[in-house]
């Protein structure tokens, strides 16, 4: 480049920059709001990222009784797995913090060398719960760790170390540098120390958890991108008149672009970095309470996420820079478009006026609704939800002006202020479409999830109500069958149980009373016409949804069950919901399982309240560990967990709504700056400030409501997808979708309420004056 032209360019650049910065003096709100928008997006992204990291720590680790395992000794190559000899050699060298483990291929359940785990120093966690506790006997002293299978139970029958090698040796606790070095020196060539990987496929719970975290992060990234791009877009709109003037004054287009980029980058970086810092601070503050929550709900920990503010800032900054880059393309097109701002406005063609776009959208919506029923996997369902939201966003962008036009048509011109409000709202809706999209996603997700949760709650409650048929239940580890005791003061029905493998999967066999009066307590989704006679005749069994969905078993199919050494072929005569159970389950008549006395853990007590004392006394004598629980107590306990869980997530949802609403608010605030001259005119022609504010607020509401109108059908589709597809493939159970209009409206109003409260904020001072035009251009 020629030196003169360089300096000339530089000069123009600084001049243009100064002109822009000078505008801050009068319109500080603009850059400030942009910074705020980017700050919100960045803080939200950071918070979600940190929550994800904290939560996925448990995916990259697993619980072993009181310990968390996050590292393992694993094979370098799949064909040279960790052997029993490797394990023995390492333990003989004193590496007793290594515990052999593998994953059950079907259920993904963890199987470990329980004895090695029990050998670990517990600091009293396992053994000293109660020094005088004498109810332990030799068997329970060597019992499995909760939720973990023993390797001995896993390596049975045809499952050998050759067919299913060890996955690795879990490293319990954190390795000191010395121990790590010693271990690495001791390891044979084919082994190395690596972090525990997320549990492999097959574990539905952890898989879907992982997928959810991934989706949550991705969604937040997309929404943040939306918000940042939107903010910059508004900024560009605000800058355009000045840029055109500067171009008219002879500053080159590329210089202007640079100036614009530079300014946007500065603002974006300030917002992004502030957001990361604040987001991090918030999550760090809440880590202890999050951890409590996780322990309460998930029996696992929310570890304080590894803090790398640098990486987080880098990510937020890159996202902002990408948005700045994208906006640069838009800006270049507009700058090329013409020297006149008015021309730029005039040439903007509205997609919502063009029928062919509507056709495309209609086809997309129809294809989406039709396509939804063909989803066959969890991933497909989740991706489809993304698609639904995308189509929803487009629909919102296109439908909002149309809805408002319809409204405008209907509003009489005899009420000029209202008339203007509605007409102006059409333009507002076009210019806030990006923010409206973010709000749409939050609102649709909120309503959809509320419908889903409400359906789940209703289904669970009715299931509990029906399934728990006895007024009281007794839970005990007592060996032997209490129901056969003649001296029992109340009728006890034993729930016999046995665990078997069905097609390699852990399957629970449970008994169901063989008396006709209990028929009505089994809620069935599908049923064979001769279900009960076949069931009583031991030719038919009922299976739970989990088993039916996992192994694609339908009513009428037969399954091979080996109850007493000899396999029997049984017809599936009904499928019942079994919410919350991760395992497949089969119900048999109680007589078929009556030999399985060892596994009786529950009895139904058919008695009236006045008998409870007698039963309690009797239980104290024959089975001191027994707990007697009323049916209502069980239902109440279960439902209170439900309420507690979703109270927390509702709060998280509200926060998301708040972020989306905030971005909406920022957009509106900026647009209001744009129409200030018109507002001044309204003052001039004698409209009071209150009326103008009311009118503006009305306009925001029009926009928000039109957005909400589009959101509702998408929300319902979303709810259906969640219930019928995501649940179906993630947890192998479904439940009926219950639509409570009051609930939908309530969710809608809460969402709109948050937005409206926020939108009241930008209604600042309005003054009538003649000189306004000089300030606003």
């Amino acid at each position: 480049m020629h030196p003169n032209s360089f300096w000339g360019g530089w000069h123009a650049l600084t001049l243009a920059l100064r002109a822009q910065v000078a505008s801050y003096r009068q319109r500080l709100w603009e850059p400030l709001l942009i910074v705020v928008a980017i700050f919100i997006a960045s803080a939200g992204l950071t918070a979600v990222t940190l929550i994800n990291q904290g939560a996925s720590q448990q995916l990259n680790s697993f619980r072993l009784g009181p310990w968390t395992v996050s590292e393992q000794v694993a094979a370098r190559r799949i064909n040279e797995p960790v052997t029993q000899a490797d394990y023995a050699t390492l333990r003989q060298q004193g590496f007793d913090f290594l515990i052999a483990f593998t994953w059950q291929p079907s259920s993904g359940q963890l199987a470990v060398d329980t004895l090695a785990a029990l050998s670990l120093p517990t600091n009293g966690a396992l053994t000293q719960a109660d020094p005088a506790d004498t109810s332990y006997n030799g068997t329970t002293r060597l019992a499995n760790l909760p939720g973990v299978q023993d390797l001995n139970a896993f390596y049975q029958g045809e499952i050998t170390l050759q067919s299913h090698p060890l996955r690795g040796l879990a490293i319990v606790g954190r390795l000191s540098a010395i121990h790590r070095q010693q271990l690495q020196n001791a390891l044979p060539e084919h082994l190395h120390v690596v972090p525990v990987r997320a549990q492999p496929t097959g574990s539905n719970l952890s898989d879907s958890f992982h997928l959810n975290l991934w989706a949550m992060g991705t969604l937040m990234l997309v929404v943040s991108g939306f918000i940042i791009f939107n903010a910059l877009n508004l900024m560009l709109a605000a800058r355009m008149p000045l840029l055109i003037k500067l171009r008219q004054l002879g500053i080159h287009q590329s210089t202007l672009l640079w100036v614009l980029m530079l300014e946007m980058m500065l603002l974006a970086m300030v917002g992004a970095i502030l957001g990361v810092v604040v987001g991090t601070a918030v999550i760090t503050t809440f880590t202890p309470s999050l951890n409590n929550l996780y322990q309460l709900l998930f029996d696992s920990s929310f570890n304080s996420p590894p803090l790398s503010i640098g990486a987080m800032i880098l990510r937020s900054s890159l996202l902002s820079l990408a948005a700045v880059g994208a906006i640069a393309v838009v800006a270049l097109r507009r700058l090329k478009g013409g020297m006149s701002w008015r021309k730029v406005l005039a040439t903007t063609r509205h997609v919502d006026n063009q029928p062919r776009y509507w056709c495309v959208l209609a086809i997309a919506v129809v294809a989406m609704v039709v396509g939804a029923s063909y989803l066959t996997s969890q991933l497909a369902a989740l991706l489809f939800i993304g698609l639904v939201l995308l189509v929803g966003c487009v629909s919102v962008m296109m439908a909002m002006p149309v809805i408002l036009r319809g409204l405008a048509h209907w509003v009489s011109a005899k009420r000029p202020v209202l008339h203007w409000s509605v007409h102006n709202a059409i333009g507002l809706s076009r210019r806030t479409k990006l923010a409206a999209s973010a709000f749409f996603i939050a609102l649709a997700a909120n309503i959809g999830m509320n419908v889903m949760v409400d359906s789940f709650r209703i289904a669970t409650e009715s299931w509990l109500e029906q399934r728990l048929f006895a007024p009281y239940y007794v839970y005990t580890n007592h060996d032997g069958d209490l129901s056969t005791r003649a001296d029992a003061p109340a009728q006890l029905l034993a729930r016999y149980g046995k665990n078997v493998r069905l097609a390699g999967q852990h399957t629970e066999l449970r008994s169901f009373p063989q008396l006709p009066e209990f028929k009505r307590y089994l809620m069935l989704d599908q049923q064979h016409s001769d279900a009960w006679p076949l069931f009583y005749g031991r030719e038919g069994v009922f299976i739970n949804q989990q088993l039916a969905y996992r192994q694609a078993i339908e009513v009428g199919d037969s399954i091979e069950l080996s109850l007493n050494e000899t396999p029997d072929s049984m017809t599936v005569v009904g499928i019942y919901p079994d919410y919350g159970n991760p395992h497949a389950q089969i119900l048999l008549p109680d007589a078929a399982l009556a030999e399985e006395r060892d596994n009786i853990t529950a009895y139904a007590a058919m008695m009236i309240e006045s008998q409870t004392d007698a039963l309690q006394v009797w239980l104290d004598a024959v089975a001191p560990d027994a707990r007697l629980l009323a049916r209502e107590t069980l239902i109440k306990q279960s439902m209170s967990v439900f309420v507690r869980t979703f109270a927390t997530t509702d709060l998280l949802n509200m926060v998301t709504m708040l972020v989306a609403a905030l971005s909406f608010f920022v957009s509106i605030s900026l647009l209001v700056l744009d129409i200030t001259p018109q507002l001044h005119l309204l003052r001039t022609v004698g409209i009071s400030p209150h009326i103008i504010k009311l009118s503006l607020f009305g306009q925001y509401c029009f926009v928000a409501v039109s957005c909400a109108i589009v959101a509702v059908p998408f929300a319902l589709l979303l709810a259906w997808l969640l219930v019928a597809k995501v649940n179906r493939y993630a947890f192998h159970w479904t439940y009926p979708l219950t639509l409570d209009p009051a609930m939908v409206i309530q969710s809608l109003l809460v969402g709109l309420g948050i937005l409206c409260v926020l939108l009241l904020l930008p209604l600042g001072r309005l003054k009538a004056k003649f000189t306004s035009q000089q300030e606003t251009v």
Partner: protein, 376 residues
Amino acid sequence: MRTNKWLSVVLLSGALLVMLLPAFGLALPLSTQSEQQVTDHGQVVPRQSLFAGMQAKNNVTVTPEHPVRLPDDHAPHPDFQLEWWYLTFLLEDKNGAPFNYQFTLFRLARPEQASNWGEGHIWLGHSSLHTESAHWFSEKLAQQGTGVAGYSDQPFTFFIDNWLWQSTAPDKLFPARLHSTVEGVSVSLELTATKPLVKHGEQGVSFKTADGVYRSYYYSQPFIDTTGTINIDGERVAVNGIGWFDHEWTSQLTDENALGWDWFSLHFDDGRKLMVFTMHVNNRPPHTTGTLISADGRATPLERNEIVLTPLQTERVAGRTLPLAWQIQLPEAGIDITTNPFKTKQFNHSRFPYYEGAIRFSGTHNGKGFMELTGY
């Protein structure tokens, strides 16, 4: 966003699981507080069987027709439910400061656990070291057949993780080396037997009840000279002293009626050794028996009427009331001694909790030894 709710679905199902599993499947064991039985005489007796719950396999029995045969019987007896190799040491450093050490290996038959992973025998190792002020205790569990724990002969070798007990002479259990750890402390001992092994009861068949129903195979080596080092936090302490070895196997002590025992191994200053115990079995009178061993190693079985064991004083230890001071009388041998624990808190918080610790005695004779109280 919506994923918050997905997350919550997962959380909820987790929570429901926690709630419903106890309700429909796996009831958690609930502990009940229980007191020890106190007899009319105010004497505390054990009431809870230590190894109860393990199925006693009674097809192979302890019988004088198959007396203890050594050295073959040093090896494990997989047909029996329960077996232990028990070493207790009374060691001192060069200043005479005590280092009392217990090293035990238990073998518990769990045939129902046999799998392609292990052979269904659980090895349980206990390592317990007491000084005047400190107690270290470690417990290891491992399964035979995994290579992590077990036994091999030629030479006799017992191991669990990095604990290794290996004889250094062919076909003999002693001399031997013992390498073990206890918490962060490492123990390395050389064991030498100075007298022959001692079989208790009838040729090693030890009767635990008067009616002879409860029995075990039981032999000992009470004459072990020990030297070695104990490494505490990098500080090597040279120790030497005496030790006692017991090997016992049976299936009957896992019976839930076998409530527990009070057991003593005593080293008299005059070189004699005494093993006495009282066995408590449900619905049977306590049974006391023992073996008196002369300084040159000759063993004399003691009949129940030859021994009087009287608890003198109880103490609260680890939430239990334990008789820690005893009077031991062998009128025919002219022995009347009172034992006192080396220190009160010698309770092993194992998965199978019991009291095991050094004692001193005085009276007609002086000396020291070990006392074990189980079932409390």
